[in-house]
């Protein structure tokens, strides 16, 4: 049961607005920035670092269901994906699936062993 007091339309509208603020601010800045310039290069670096941080967090410190799995399983699986990617021929599909399938197998094994 929910104890929510906010009306759904207000909740969703406010959340959309709170997200679009960043998108809109990005467009506003983007139209005033030189794509060949240093500021653009710096913001691109910030984007990459931010996304890497977000993804690393999802793997190392996940919230929700994933947090019930041992860290070592997650690190092993993602390590395998990177190994397949770099030592194979940089095929994303193959790399991602091998890591995820191994992760599923380890989780199933742990389940089976109780």
């Amino acid at each position: 049961m929910t104890t929510a007091s906010t009306a759904p339309w207000l909740l969703v509208t406010a959340s959309i607005a709170a997200t679009y603020v960043w998108r809109g601010a990005g467009v506003y800045c983007a139209t005033r920035i030189d794509p060949q310039g240093r500021l653009f290069a710096w913001v691109t670096c910030v984007s990459y670092a931010l996304l890497a941080g977000l993804i690393a967090r999802m793997i190392v410190l996940p919230v929700g269901t994933l947090s019930s799995t041992p860290l070592i399983d997650r690190l092993l699986a993602v390590g395998l994906s990177f190994a397949v990617y770099y030592f194979g021929r940089r095929r994303p599909l193959r790399a991602v699936l091998s890591g995820v399938v191994v992760f599923i197998l380890i989780s199933a094994l742990r389940d089976a062993m109780g």
């Binding site: 759904p8 809109g24 467009v27 190392v60």
Partner: protein, 266 residues
């Protein structure tokens, strides 16, 4: 064109799991048309990107139903917020009875990455655009998927056709996301626990691999910096740690690689 069929398709829906390296755009520059670019974008998006969106938004759909948020609202949230961390924050705080202002701030913080992403991406779509107003609409389609996928493909897409590529790629992603939201809401995800975990895990692993494939050298350094300092900073401060990671890691990468590399991309 290379066609790779998955051996272990994790869900029952048959997806054309085709991964075409963007460099293999058929034909020379003179034969690349808006139509061929769109078709290429659909092909690129129809593999892992669609699968990842389908499965991750299934999780959001299921959560929305558990939270007694209507399916229409869940769909509107997916299309309107179009950023999973913010969507999850919205639903989780809604259930916990948090006030509207606090929810909006949390959702905003969880999706703040869209600011630097838009700044570093939208100029690439602006070339030759007669009405810059379109950018305000195009930015709504931006997600990690369409951002990374487009940046990957843009070196082989003529500048004038990049908007076509982006809209086709991102549009396909949005459809997969909406489909996933609906499937999750209707409880299609009755899978063994280990498989469910694997599908959730698919999300970060996919993004890690896709980003690792960036040809942009300062970007590679920034990725490494962000991945290393991200978790500790998040652990210290869950609200601001991520933004700090972007600024600190990005600045480190920018200084380390030197500004001479500015404009060397796309």
């Amino acid at each position: 064109m290379r066609l790779i069929m998955s051996t272990g398709q994790p869900i029952g829906i048959r997806f054309p799991l085709i991964v075409v390296p963007p460099a293999k755009l058929n034909g020379t520059a003179s034969t690349i048309t808006a139509r061929s670019v769109r078709r290429q974008a659909w092909r690129d998006a129809s593999g892992l990107p669609s699968l990842v969106l389908l499965t991750s938004m299934t999780g959001f759909g299921a959560l929305a139903r558990d939270s007694e948020l209507g399916l229409g609202w869940a769909w509107l949230a997916t299309a309107g917020i179009w950023g999973l961390p913010g969507q999850l924050a919205m639903v989780e705080l809604y259930v916990s009875g948090t006030g509207l202002a606090a929810i909006a701030v949390a959702v905003g913080l969880a999706n703040a990455r869209f600011l630097p992403m838009a700044v570093s991406f939208m100029p690439l779509l602006a070339t030759g655009l007669r009405r810059p107003l379109w950018l305000w609409l195009l930015v709504q389609l931006m997600s990690i998927n369409s951002w990374a996928g487009s940046l990957r493909a843009f070196p082989t897409v003529p500048i004038a056709l990049r908007r076509n590529y982006y809209v086709a790629f991102a549009g396909q992603c949005l459809l997969a996301g909406l489909l996933g939201t609906g499937l999750g809401y209707m409880g299609a995800a009755a899978l063994p626990d280990s498989v469910t975990l694997g599908l959730i895990f698919l999300n970060p692993v996919f993004f890690a691999i896709i980003l690792a494939g960036t040809p942009h050298r300062p970007g590679q350094v920034a990725l490494l910096a962000g991945a290393l300092i991200g978790p500790p900073l998040f652990w210290v401060n869950p609200d601001w740690g991520l933004l700090l990671t972007g600024v600190v890691g990005g600045t480190m990468a920018f200084l380390l690689t030197g500004s001479s590399s500015a404009g060397s991309r796309a």
